[in-house]
């Protein structure tokens, strides 16, 4: 299976996503240049993390006008899977592929740490390898990850079961398993899917949690799930 990883100017986790696909999964990955109009027949499109256009103005605001985004939107409309990680999530929101917005972290600081996520839905293209309710450890590294949406949108997301990952207090701490948002995200939302279920945006970095050597391999499931979903 082929993953197309978009490189915007300022992307810096394109390499991490590439390694996750090629080294951990043993699948094929290609870098897709933002100025191109060709997704190179990728089955899955990855909008990687980083600081496209320096995050100037608002994260993702400028990148969403890159030429390749026309193709990414078309791929999504056809039902093709799109995985937006961190800056990729921000770009997907700016581009209207996902609802809501990601604002400055509530503590006004960049936050880099390993967080605990609860898998709220294990029946999506991105999470079928997890158990529902399973908690996983995945790093975050962002300054603008406070998921925000209006009340209607939020209600719709919850009602339609589109909140896929939520931040929860880590096991062994007070309130373990309860909503606990490092960045002030509404409803402790860490990741959501589009109404078609084929676009996932998440702030945490599953592509960095791919080996026990790196402190966690809990992120591999996201990529494996895509293998299953696309093969089906």
């Amino acid at each position: 299976m082929k993953f197309g990883i978009v490189t915007f100017p300022g992307s810096n986790c394109d390499y991490d996503a590439y390694r996750a696909v090629v080294e951990t999964l043993g699948e094929t990955a290609v870098y897709v240049w933002h100025k191109d109009h060709d997704l190179q027949d990728a089955d899955v499109v990855v909008l990687p993390g980083g600081f496209s256009y320096g995050d100037y103005l608002r994260p993702g605001a400028i990148a969403r006008f890159s030429p390749i985004m026309t193709e990414v939107a078309a791929h999504a409309r056809r039902g093709g899977p799109v995985l937006g990680i961190c800056n990729g999530f921000q770009i997907a929101c700016e581009a209207g592929l996902l609802p809501g917005a990601l604002l400055r972290n509530a503590n006004l600081q960049f936050i880099s740490e390993l967080v605990t996520l609860r898998v709220e839905r294990a029946d999506t293209a991105f999470t079928n390898r997890y158990r529902p309710g399973q908690t996983i450890a995945i790093p975050i590294a962002h300054g603008d990850g406070r998921y925000t949406a209006d009340a209607d949108t939020l209600q719709r997301l919850e009602g339609e079961g589109r909140v896929v990952f939520r931040y929860v207090a880590p096991p062994g701490t007070p309130g373990a398993g309860e909503w606990w948002s490092p960045n002030g995200a509404m409803h402790a939302i860490a990741g959501i899917v589009s109404d078609g279920g084929n676009v996932l945006g998440m702030m945490p970095h599953p592509e960095r949690a791919v080996s026990p050597l790196l402190g966690s391999s809990d992120g591999v499931g996201v990529f494996q799930s895509l293998l299953t979903a696309v093969a089906a």
Binding site: C13, R19, G54, D55, S112, L213
Partner: protein, 764 residues
């Protein structure tokens, strides 16, 4: 060729010469070199290149005494970064650099541009940056101004490195009134390259074009290099250069484009336009290649109208590079840059004539013979004399100091030390740094050294910066030895063998005999330690004149150590890993509290002799650690440094917040030592390891002649219990955790302000 004075240039007067920081002797030397009086442009060029920052005029004779060689050193001092071979045709480039003065004025941009500069030094060697470190010194956190500096510096480092996408994995932060008004901000970068792709900044090939790449040139930081060579006294305020603003986004593009250029084979040399910008980069590249160059300033892309050649030559605008390309490859070079939305302009060429020449269109406005601009800078060896006041402090009998009443409870003392900002967790700092991007970080910040895996290999590297400025202040030679030894020990605690260092000498005004004495002795101590431990110096940076109106900072020779691990999956962490493991102390407790954090924190005293540092014992300890960890018999290793044995034990128990494990130890064998020295004295050459097989560890230690004693076990409970003689000291992990992790966040939640506040505390 005739050099023309530009209309409107000021006349060269003694006052103007002095304002450029050029002494009368130096001016005579310049006239000798030129055979005539300089033009204004030439005066500017010389003032930059002969500034302390660019010329190392007060430190070069000392630096020559450092050991720089080993068979794996591919590039020693003199290039943009040092390089060592790590096997399999791979190599590591690394370098540290200071941005102290800019950060004192504008902490955010000062620190950010410091990161930018050191990244460029590494990627111009053809290396892909894989890790950043930072070594920071600030005044006491009680001051709103200091909190403003801390917040700004940390955010500046984070925002820049995070955006470029290089993980910041280690460093140190020390708070001491000695740094009030003059913080130290040192950033280190480590990059990975193929040996075959090593690039050097050596201009070559007559007719080859010189190309300016990256951001346009503005009026930023003109005379930044000379400014970095002056005291931060208030009188200089008006002369301060316009601050440089960093653009990490452009840096990221420049990084990708530069690596692509280097790999393309279209270029012969590349260098960052750092301090003293275009002038120093072009003159240095020419001097290394022993070639002539000519630069036409009218072809340099500028950001603002009406910039003079003087300004263009001396601007320190960020994110710019100077490239020497192969003749005829200009368009290929341009194509690569355009792909990354960057511009390139041919601004000069390598010439046969042995001169450094600057033109404005066809008019020659500056010309220096040969490479003498770089090679003829004078060097100085000022008088050196130890300050009698400092000697008296060192010789003070601190062990006779009476205890405070609260100290009858050692848990109180331990808690005070754990919450001392210098010892307390720096999580508030490193949580703002992306430490996991690029997926190589095996051990990140929060323990001893950081460990990175080398892609497609079983090996890894360990990196750490260290220096205890208080030790160096009290005894420069011993302090510098300890700095090297501690850095090496931290690296060895992960299982890595220390290989080489870079260093940043942060000192005061070298023209003061007591400062020059510190510099001379510290360099000697560093040389001794590097020789003994087999870790040559591959480069570094010197930052002098770190003085505020209150006096010089502690002499602070920061050591950046790089070590190599054969099997990265065996890398040890600092924290206890499994209940039931035995705890072994390698090395010996100490009877002294001289120069300790304990004395400063509990008694407000900076005095006494720093701990003795036996380099042969350090080497034996390192060998033991590397072997034991490599053999997989050790489950954790942590060195004992600031705060002594008790603090180190507490850190082993609590530093991993996800898994805190209590322990019981018995120090009765040393019950004869003064209790506070046993617990909080900072003896060197020690490490705490935990292991399922204490016997094996003891045997390994014995082979190397390292004292090793089993002192207790990890019991996984919620207390740390230390028995000494009949006495039992019991500390709750929750209380230690709170002291250690909450100290800095609590202080940093108080407001910060750029406005100067009245500092109350002074050193000693």
């Amino acid at each position: 060729m005739t050099v023309h004075k530009r209309p409107g240039d000021p006349a060269i007067t003694p006052a103007l010469v002095a304002e450029h920081g050029i002494t009368e002797d130096e001016y005579r030397r310049l006239i000798d070199m030129l055979g005539r009086a300089p033009t204004f442009t030439e005066l500017g060029v010389v003032s930059a290149l002969w500034s302390e920052h660019c010329s190392y005029k007060h430190s070069r004779p000392l630096l020559r005494t450092l050991p720089t060689k080993a068979d794996y050193v591919l590039q020693g001092p003199g290039e943009n970064a040092g390089v060592i071979a790590i096997g399999d045709g791979l190599a590591v480039a690394f370098k540290i650099e200071s941005h102290n003065h800019p950060s004192a004025v504008e902490p955010y941009q000062g620190a950010a541009t410091g990161v930018g500069g050191i990244l460029r030094d590494v990627f111009t060697m053809g290396a892909r940056p894989i890790a950043m470190l930072n070594s920071l010194r600030f005044g006491a956190l009680d001051s709103a101004r200091v909190r403003y500096l801390v917040a700004g510096v940390v955010k500046g480092i984070g925002d820049y490195g995070n955006c470029v996408g290089v993980p910041t994995v280690a460093g140190e932060v020390v708070f001491d009134p000695a740094y009030d008004g003059n913080p130290l901000v040192n950033a280190m970068c480590v990059g990975l390259l193929k040996e075959s792709e090593l690039m050097r900044a050596v201009a070559q090939g007559v007719g080859n074009p010189i190309i300016a790449v990256g951001a346009r040139t503005g009026r930023d930081g003109i005379h930044g290099a000379s400014f970095a060579s002056e005291d931060l006294s208030d009188a200089n305020e008006a002369k301060r250069p316009r601050v440089q603003v960093g653009d990490p986004f452009t840096e990221k593009l420049l990084l990708e484009a530069s690596l692509e250029l280097i790999h393309s084979g279209h270029i012969v040399a590349i260098q960052d336009m750092g301090a003293a910008g275009l002038t120093s980069s072009s003159a240095e590249m020419a001097a290394r290649g022993d070639v002539g160059v000519t630069i036409d300033v009218s072809r340099v892309p500028v950001r603002e109208p009406h910039m003079t050649p003087y300004e263009i030559l001396l601007s320190e605008s960020q994110e710019r590079m100077l490239v020497v390309a192969k003749r005829g490859r200009e368009d290929a070079v341009r194509a690569i840059l355009e792909k990354w939305d960057l511009t390139a302009a041919v601004i000069g060429e390598v010439i046969a004539e042995p001169v450094y020449r600057v033109t404005e269109g066809d008019t020659v406005i500056a010309e220096f013979p040969g490479t003498r601009l770089v090679t003829d800078c004078p060097t100085y060896t000022p008088d050196a004399a130890e300050s009698p006041a400092i000697r008296a402090l060192r010789e003070r009998d601190v062990d006779a100091l009476p205890e405070r009443p609260e100290e009858s409870d050692p848990v109180w003392t331990l808690t005070q030390l754990l919450s001392s900002p210098t010892i307390a967790s720096k999580q508030w700092v490193y949580r703002q740094y992306d430490s996991t991007v690029r997926t190589n970080t095996v051990v990140g910040p929060g323990g001893d050294a950081a460990v990175l895996r080398i892609p497609h290999s079983t090996r890894g590297i360990a990196v750490k910066t260290d220096c205890n400025g208080r030790y160096v202040y009290l005894d420069p030679r011993a302090g510098a030895r300890i700095a090297v030894a501690e850095a090496a020990r931290n690296v060895a605690c992960t299982g890595a063998r220390p290989k080489a260092i870079t260093n940043n000498l942060n000192f005061g005004n070298p023209r003061k005999p007591e400062t020059y004495y510190q510099l001379r002795e510290a360099v000697a101590g560093m040389a001794e330690a590097c020789t003994a431990l087999g870790t040559p110096v591959t480069g570094g940076n010197v930052s002098l004149y770190n003085e505020s109106p209150r006096g010089a900072v502690y002499p602070t020779p920061v050591i950046g150590m790089v070590g190599l691990l054969d099997d990265v999956s065996r890398a040890a962490r600092a924290t206890f890993a499994a209940p039931g493991d035995r705890i072994v102390l390698l090395g010996e407790p100490t009877a002294s509290i001289g120069a300790s954090e304990y004395l400063q924190r509990i008694h407000g005293v900076v005095a006494g002799a720093p701990p003795a540092c036996d380099l042969a014992a350090e080497q034996a300890l390192i060998d033991t650690l590397v072997e034991a960890i490599g053999a997989g018999v050790v489950t954790s290793a942590h060195d004992c440094s600031d705060g002594g044995l008790a603090v180190a034990l507490a850190e082993c128990a609590i530093m991993n917040r996800g898994r805190q494990l209590g322990a019981r130890v018995d120090l009765t064998p040393w019950a004869g030592l003064p209790l506070r020295a046993l617990l909080f004295g900072e003896g060197q050459g020690r490490a705490l390891v935990s292991t399922p097989d204490a016997k094996r560890v003891r045997a390994l230690a014995a082979q190397h002649g390292v004292p090793a004693r089993e002192i207790g076990a990890v019991d996984g409970g919620d207390t740390l219990q230390i028995a000494v003689g009949g006495r039992s000291i019991v500390a709750k992990l929750a209380a230690l955790d709170e002291a250690y992790f909450e100290a800095i966040p609590r202080i940093m939640s108080r407001p910060a302000s750029a406005a100067a506040d009245s500092p109350v505390t002074t050193a000693v």
